[in-house]
Symmetry: C2
């Protein structure tokens, strides 16, 4: 008997998938919205173009959250992502907010 692993039906909250075509300002807006509510978020990107947009989004989101006295730090890690049935290596950027003194 083969037991299939349980696959989640919904995307984990706070996970934003970024593509090479994503607008970094839009991703930054979404990221800032998540980080106003939660301590952390995650950007997932596969490929140089997507990773570039993800990093730019974090740089922009820092400016969005500065008036709320939040600084952002991120921790990159490799992840395996399934795209159209193929396993590909991507990058996860775990993004954490830190409260800063005024």
């Amino acid at each position: 008997m083969i037991i299939e692993p349980v696959k989640p039906h919904t995307t984990t909250p706070g996970v934003l998938k970024v593509s090479a075509k994503s607008n970094p300002n839009s991703v930054a807006g979404a990221l800032a919205a998540v980080l106003r509510e939660r301590d952390s978020a995650e950007l997932q990107a596969v490929g140089a173009g997507a990773i570039n947009q993800a990093v730019k989004a974090v740089a922009i989101a820092r400016a969005y959250l500065r008036p709320s006295n939040f600084e952002l730090v991120c921790v990159p890690a490799f992840i395996d992502v399934e795209i159209s049935g193929n396993e590909r290596t991507g990058i996860s950027l775990a993004v954490y907010r830190r409260e800063v003194a005024e």
Copy 2:
């Protein structure tokens, strides 16, 4: 009288310039070497290919520094870089080490 700004003759210590052709493992090795000696380092990259290699280097350097109980976090920012006389926008990744409990 025009007073020329003083230009540093050497690269700032701890700043590593990453190109699209950089080997992420090599950059990670250099980054880990800096972060064994200092609390922080900086990666500078211009263009999607270079930024991709820089982010991968940080992900790899995390593994290199884990046995020393250091975790890495990075803070991306936009920077203006002069390349062949042209001003281009790049990304600076400030990388900080954090001591973690065993």
